[in-house]
Every structure is written in C-alpha cells, then in structure tokens.
C-alpha cells in the first residue's frame, strides 16, 4: 500500500541502493506531519458512530423520497445498510489518515464503486450529501485542531470528488 515510506523503499530498491540521506529526510518530513493526522484519526475513531449517523440523517432528510416504498432507504434492512455504507467510508478515511495517503480509499472504496452502485441501482447524490454534511460539520478547535481538521476534510473532499 502506497505511503511515503513504501515509495521511498520502492525507488531505493529499484536503484539497488541503501536508503540515502534524502530518503531519510523525506520519511522524517512525513513523520513530522503525522501528528495532525493521528489526532484526526483518533477523534474520528472515537466518534465514528455519531459522525456516520448524523451524515446519514442529513442525506435522508434532503432526499426524503428514499423512504418511500421500493426506494433505497425504505425498509429497516436497507436503512441499516445505508448507514453501514456511510460508516465504511468514514472507516476508510480513518485508515487513510493513519497511512498518510489515499491507498485504503482507492483500493477498498473507490475501485469498482461506480459499477457497484450502477448495478444495485443506487443513487450517488445522497452519499455526496452525507459526506458534504460531514465536511461542514467538523469544526476547529471544538472537534480537533485546525491542522487535523484540514487533513480530515481533504479526505472527505477526495471521496466526494470520486462520486462525481
């Protein structure tokens, strides 16, 4: 999975050399920035149920037709699956914050996303709305430091863009 360290190691290996000073410098640079990401990951992990629930509620509020007979949020099973999907995205964002790259989202969230939603006949607009709600809901310094919030929002944007 792609991260600063694996990128550095891959290129050093391709050249057949030991990690050079500049390799070590770039790893150190990523470690210095990591504290903010870890903070965001921790806050998100602690509150993931709440965050997902609020985002889900916002989406269903905007697209209330989804509750009607035969729509994607009509039964209890469907409702719990919708919430679970939002939670999956939040969990992948948590992973991306830990890794420091978009690898987990790319590999486990975005690859094949379009095909799955098409074949299940699911609308993507509610997902965008849910993530957009989470994007505006986060607040510094109430929820986390501004640097951490910045990292978190960046990943929310990344997922939102993947839906377009």
């Amino acid at each position: 999975m792609k991260s600063v360290v694996t990128t550095v190691v891959t290129s050093a290996d391709a050249a057949g050399r030991y990690p050079s000073t500049s390799d070590l410098e770039s790893v150190q640079g990523s470690l210095q920035r990591a504290a903010a990401r870890m903070e965001a990951a921790e806050k998100l992990a602690n509150n993931i149920d709440q965050v997902a629930q609020e985002a889900y509620d916002a989406a269903i509020k905007k697209y209330s037709y989804l509750n009607e007979e035969g729509e994607a949020n009509s039964t209890d099973t469907f409702k719990s699956k919708c919430l679970r999907d939002i939670k999956h995205y939040m969990r992948l964002i948590n992973y991306c914050l830990v890794v420091g790259g978009t690898g987990p989202l790319d590999e486990w969230g975005i690859a094949g996303q379009r095909e799955v939603y098409r074949s299940l006949n699911l609308p993507t607009a509610p997902y965008v709305e849910a993530l957009l709600f989470a994007r505006t809901r986060g607040c510094a310094p109430r929820d986390m430091s501004s640097q951490a919030l910045n990292e978190y929002n960046r990943l929310l944007d990344y997922v939102i863009n993947s839906f377009s």
């Binding site: 991260s3 694996t6 290996d13 070590l24």
Partner: protein, 184 residues
Amino acid sequence: MLDAFSRAVVNADSKTACIGGDELQSLKNFISEGNKRLDAVNSIASNSSCIVSDAVAGMICENQGLIQAGGNCYPNRRMAACLRDGEIILRYITYAVLSGDASVLEDRCLNGLKETYTALGVPLQSTGRAVGIMKASSLAHINNTNSEEYGGKRFRKMEMKDGDCSAITSEAASYFDRVISALS
C-alpha cells in the same frame, strides 16, 4: 509492500474496525521515536560495506575450507557473489527497519531464497553465520557501542545523540533473526 501504518490498516480492515486506542498509541510511539529509527537506518547504511566485508571475512576465518580450491568462496568470482549477496540481504534489512515491517524483506528477499541457495549449492549454514555476524555488528552500530578496543585502526564512531535504543535494537534484531531462520 507494507509499512507499520499500512500493516495496522490491513489488520484493522480484517476486523472492519477503526484504528483507535492502543493501535493508534503504538503508531504515535512510532512517530515520536521516528528519529531513532532513521538514525539506526543511517548507521547501518553508512557502515554497510564494513559490516558486510567483516561478516564475510569472519565467516571465512571460522571455516577456511571456503577459500580453498573447491570451496564456495574459492575463485574471486564466487567470493564477489558472496559479498554482493551479503550486501543485498543487509539492504533489505535496512528497508525493513525503515518501514517498521518485515513484509518488504519477506516478499523481495527471503521468498525462495533458501531454495535458490540450495539449488546453487550455497552452504546455508555459512550464510546464516555471516548474517549472524552482520547482526552483531549492525546492532553495535545502532547503539554506538563499538569501541576502539574492538575496532582497532578502523574504529569509527558516528556523531549521534545517545539515548535508549533498546526498542529499535530488538526490532532490528528480529529482522536479522528472520533471515537466519529463513535460511535454516
């Protein structure tokens, strides 16, 4: 290839759980102790040719048959191959130390190494001994415990801040042990 962070992610994903609490705490330690790790990598990489040639020379000292006609280090060509392999193994160990995970070492170096050596007739026991010597001298370099008494004319001490490096030392030792057990 994984590093300490993506290893945590892969483990958490298999349980569909978020990364928080203890796991996150150990990653935070990884970050705060990061400079020790980078110093460790640097001290192995900067002394690599010394570590490798010492290990191969030590292996031969203990088993002179290797450089006699018919031995596995006998013509220069085979001795050179031996030094090159020592350097390759040590290089993958530095990658593992840098990433905090053994996957790069396992996937790119150890996978099939024993079979290759068996097919080529490389003596596994001697190879393991050379890796053992590399382990001892690398750990001494990480801790900066080499002294003039042992180093003699070639004694060299890196300019590093002293501190408690027991965690990174035992981690590095575990990578060397992995190589040794993969070869035995």
